[in-house]
Amino acid sequence: DAGITQSPRHKVTETGTPVTLRCHQTENHRYMYWYRQDPGHGLRLIHYSYGVKDTDKGEVSDGYSVSRSKTEDFLLTLESATSSQTSVYFCAISENRASGANVLTFGAGSRLTVL
């Protein structure tokens, strides 16, 4: 199994505070993703990265920023957390198969509660 570690696994914070979630991989995969999962919405892509310092927005990127300074780390930052960002956040990695498709492997998730 791919080695993906998310931290912290659980966090409770207050509205207006900054929050950073970390995703660390040991697989040297090129592609990394941040998703959020909410009841009734399934998984939604926040941001993704296709290489060091190469990132792009997903469908729900407002209020989030990301950074990838090393292949193994992908950080998700909420500059000023809001209650609407209470969610479970999943990091995923993928290898680029020869066919060009990206098969995703997920981390264990980080549960964030914004009070």
């Binding site: 399934g42 998984l43 997903g58 999943f90 066919s99 990206n102 098969v103 998730g109």
Partner: protein, 110 residues
């Protein structure tokens, strides 16, 4: 954009039963993946199956891309099969964007 619909939304079965989960998509796709989210929230990739049939133990999947659907078969269900099953597709022209179905929630009773 592409629509992904999964059926049934909920399924309750006795241990030992077989089940078929369906995923319909509205446009051509680059690939299709099936995931299982267990009751503890962990997401596991079951199959990468853009077309054809694959089998892994009691689970198998078939994708008929020309008819825009995929089926996930679970045979001899066990309580550990409980959870939510998602299909997700890459729209044609994209290798990064995954469009997710709403999932099928499966409960296996002992």
């Amino acid at each position: 954009g592409i629509q992904v619909e999964q059926s049934p939304p909920d399924l309750i079965l006795q241990e030992g039963a077989n089940s078929t989960l369906r995923c319909n998509f509205s446009d051509s796709v680059n690939n299709l993946q099936w995931f299982h989210q267990n009751p503890w929230g962990q997401l596991i990739n079951l199959f990468y199956i853009p077309s054809g049939t694959k089998q892994n133990g009691r689970l198998s999947a078939t994708t008929v891309a020309t008819e825009r659907y995929s089926l996930l078969y679970i045979s001899s269900s066990q309580t550990t099969d409980s959870g939510v099953y998602f299909c997700a597709v890459h729209p044609g022209g994209s290798n990064y964007q995954l469009i997710w179905g709403a999932g099928t929630k499966l409960i296996i009773k002992p």
